[in-house]
């Protein structure tokens, strides 16, 4: 009886965690598509690191570890970090990459300062705040999954409502502005959606690995299609699939952390897609190339033959006169 209880309990935890990981993978995959297409893959890395002080401040102000409150703090900090990056690029001659690097590392450092401050206050409730650095998918509770589902669902809903506007923003911002779309507002909306996708995933996979959850599914999906709607759906599926597979692999063996396993799964999908996807994949390309080379050789040899025949005819003609 007791055995049975443990078994179901274990399965229940596993179920919660894998549902959480699947939701997370789907949401970050779908929204990461936009980041990858806009060449902002590393903005996600910056936002996820910069969220740390927000989490610490939210905890300091409220003293609670309710996921919604911490996520809100993380989102605000991630937002401010994005503003910093945009401000630095616009007002100084510092380039985008350096701006990202500075904001990422210093915000994170500030977060560490706040965390060490909280620890020294001796608040017993603070234990577990540092899961946001490395992530601990195995500690996902039902309420966390609920938060992920509601916020992520909201983000996806907004994406689908603003589908056509966001599509235009991603592919031709100048044109979007010229037909009177509020591009700056749309940019803010899209960045906010990205921030949401990141902060809800922090607890599960941590700041360091969150960027891969955004980038990898989108890159894998990109290899299979040239259409945005397919790419978003595919990226979501890839993300969800690796979330579930990663969770199961890590639960089937001892001492394999979930977050990194999920990341390795999704990286494997990228490698697989890059190698085998039709039209774009490496294998496809090399076949196409060798075929091209072969047909070029045929064409040139026949050309050489025909020109040499022509030359001979010409020579004969010349000899006549």
């Amino acid at each position: 009886m007791l055995d049975f209880f443990f078994l179901t309990r274990f399965d229940y935890t596993l179920m919660v965690v894998s549902i959480g990981a699947a939701l997370l993978g789907a949401i970050s995959g779908a929204l990461g598509t936009y980041a990858v297409l806009r060449r902002q893959s590393l903005l996600g890395d910056t936002i996820s690191h910069a969220a740390l002080p927000g989490i610490a401040i939210a905890f300091m102000l409220t003293g609670s570890k309710t996921p919604l409150i911490l996520v809100l703090g993380a989102a605000i900090a991630g937002w401010i970090a994005t503003l910093f990056v945009v401000g630095i690029v616009r007002l100084t001659r510092i380039k985008y990459d350096s701006a990202l690097g500075i904001v990422l590392s210093t915000f994170f450092g500030f977060g560490l300062v706040l965390l060490s401050w909280i620890q020294h206050q001796g608040n017993a409730n603070q234990a577990g705040l540092d899961t946001f650095i490395f992530g601990q998918a195995a500690t996902l509770l039902q309420r966390d999954v609920l938060t992920i589902g509601i916020l992520g669902g909201l983000a996806l809903l907004i994406t689908s409502i603003l589908w056509k506007e966001l599509k235009l923003l991603v592919f031709d911002e100048g044109f979007a502005a010229s037909i009177g779309l509020p591009t700056r507002l749309l940019d803010i909306v899209l960045t906010s959606l990205l921030v949401i996708a990141i902060v809800i995933g922090l607890q599960a996979v941590g700041a360091v690995l969150m960027s891969a959850m955004l980038v990898a599914p989108a890159v894998a999906a990109r290899q299979w299609t040239n259409r945005l709607n397919l790419m978003v759906i595919l990226a979501g599926c890839f993300g969800a699939f690796s979330g579930v597979v990663g969770t199961f692999i890590s639960s089937s063996a001892t001492a394999i952390p979930t977050g990194p396993t999920i990341i390795l799964c999704v990286t494997f999908m990228v490698v697989f897609s890059m190698a085998l996807a039709p039209n774009r994949g490496l294998l496809w390309n090399s076949i196409k190339q060798s075929r091209n080379r072969h047909s070029l050789k045929l064409a040139t040899s026949s050309l050489v033959k025909s020109t040499s025949v022509n030359n001979r005819i010409e020579e004969n003609d010349n000899r006549k006169y």
Binding site: V36, R39, S41, L42, G44, D45, H49, I88, L91, T92, R93, I94, K95, Y96, D97, S98, L100, G101, I102, V103, L104, S105, T106, F107, F108, G109, F110, L112, V113, L114, L115, S116, W117, H120, I133, F134, V208, L209, S211, A212, L214, V215, A216, A218, V219, Q223, A255, I256, P257, G259, P260, T261, I263, L264, T267, V270, M274, R280, G281, L282
Partner: protein, 371 residues
């Protein structure tokens, strides 16, 4: 006495680490490759772990060798990914380092139950413990390992930059010219990447892999706001890095919080401060220049307006102060301030409610019109 000694040692380690990191950082900032340092600092984890499994020692030189190799491997991976043209540069970086980092984390948690190499230490570092890990030669302790390692890295970085200064400069500012002149930009590139990897490995012990990025990017970016000369930028970066390290360290002692975190926070603070107040390029001087230009332009408009109507029948009406806002479409209050400025600069004279151009004002108007 002992604690004082340790405080001093920690401060020196912080300064040497910051200086060593700032030097290669200058070239990363200029070559728009700073995120490579972020990627390297994360991706060296599996290299460190594997070397640790082989040697069972945190301070073995093999760790540095392995980590450097992994760092260069990361750069190669990123470049190979880019070369397939299936992935853009940013995504290539964003794919590579989390994957390698994940391998490192899995290796640590799977196989290192009885050994003290935990992820916290690798990622976050703890400067406070750095002086305690003493270099031991024949049973005599001759100073902290971190100080020797980072001192060596500083000397190595300085030597590399001094020896290859010309090549580095050329490759940084005009890679294609460097290639045509036969300077082997790829070789210099990988040399630089090797230095970044080695410096990162040396520093991760003290400050952790994420804050290394603050030390590598922060001071050079701050220096970049202040100067146009590469030599000055190098020297300034080292000075700023040292100031950040020292003040961050003392502040953290004072507040009793994470040392490395405080140094990173101070780095941001100094960057913002410099950005605000630096002459010519700072926000304050940009704003002042804008304001000055606005008033200068308004006064020029005023003298041109007066000059155009000077000696003509309508001059009487056109030079009436109260009518300026109508003719030049200025707000009345703005018009009054412009007139006041123009009077102060002796561009115009006031007679009753009329404005008259002075010689100076007339010359200014003519000059503006000719231009």
């Amino acid at each position: 006495m002992i604690t004082e000694n340790i405080n001093l040692l920690t401060a020196i380690i912080a300064i040497v680490t910051a200086s060593a990191c700032a030097l290669p950082g200058v070239f990363l900032v200029l070559r728009r490759m700073t995120l490579m340092s972020d990627a390297i600092s994360h991706a060296i984890l599996p290299g460190i772990v594997l070397a640790f499994f082989l040697t069972h020692s945190v301070s073995s030189p093999l760790l540095i060798v392995a980590a450097t190799a992994t760092g260069i491997l990361t750069v190669v991976f990123v470049e190979l990914l880019q070369k397939t043209k299936l992935v853009k540069e940013d995504a290539a970086i964003g794919l590579t380092f989390p994957a390698l980092f994940s391998i490192g984390v899995i290796l640590i948690s799977r196989y290192s139950k009885n050994i003290h190499l935990d992820i916290d230490a690798v990622l976050l570092g703890e400067l406070a413990y750095a002086p305690l890990n003493q270099l031991d030669i024949n049973g005599r302790e001759i100073g902290p390992v971190a100080l020797y390692v980072m001192g060596f890295m500083f000397v190595l970085n300085v030597t590399f930059i001094l020896v290859f200064y010309k090549e580095l400069k050329l490759v940084t500012f005009d890679a294609s010219l460097a290639a045509t002149l036969g300077f082997a930009p790829t070789l210099i590139h990988y040399g630089l990447m090797a230095l970044v990897s080695m410096t990162t490995v040396g520093a991760f012990d003290a400050v952790g892999s994420i804050l290394v990025v603050a030390l590598i990017v922060g001071p050079p970016a701050t220096a970049y706001l202040m100067t146009d000369s590469l030599t000055r930028m190098l020297i300034l970066s080292v000075i700023i890095g040292s100031i950040n390290a020292l003040s961050g360290y003392w502040l953290s002692i004072f507040l009793n919080v994470s040392i490395a975190g405080t140094i990173a926070s101070v780095t941001l603070l100094v960057f913002v401060l410099v950005f605000l107040i630096v002459p010519n390029r700072g926000l304050v001087s940009i704003a002042r220049r804008h304001i000055r230009q606005k008033w200068e332009f308004a006064q020029t408009m005023l003298v041109i307006h007066l000059f155009n109507h000077e000696g003509l029948p309508e001059a009487q009406e056109e030079s009436e102060i109260a009518h300026l806002h109508e003719h030049l479409r200025w707000e009345p209050s703005f018009a009054l301030r412009v007139v006041k400025n123009a009077l102060n600069n002796r561009y115009v004279l006031q007679e009753a409610s009329q404005l008259m151009l002075t010689e100076r004002g007339r010359a200014k108007a003519q000059r503006a019109l000719v231009q």
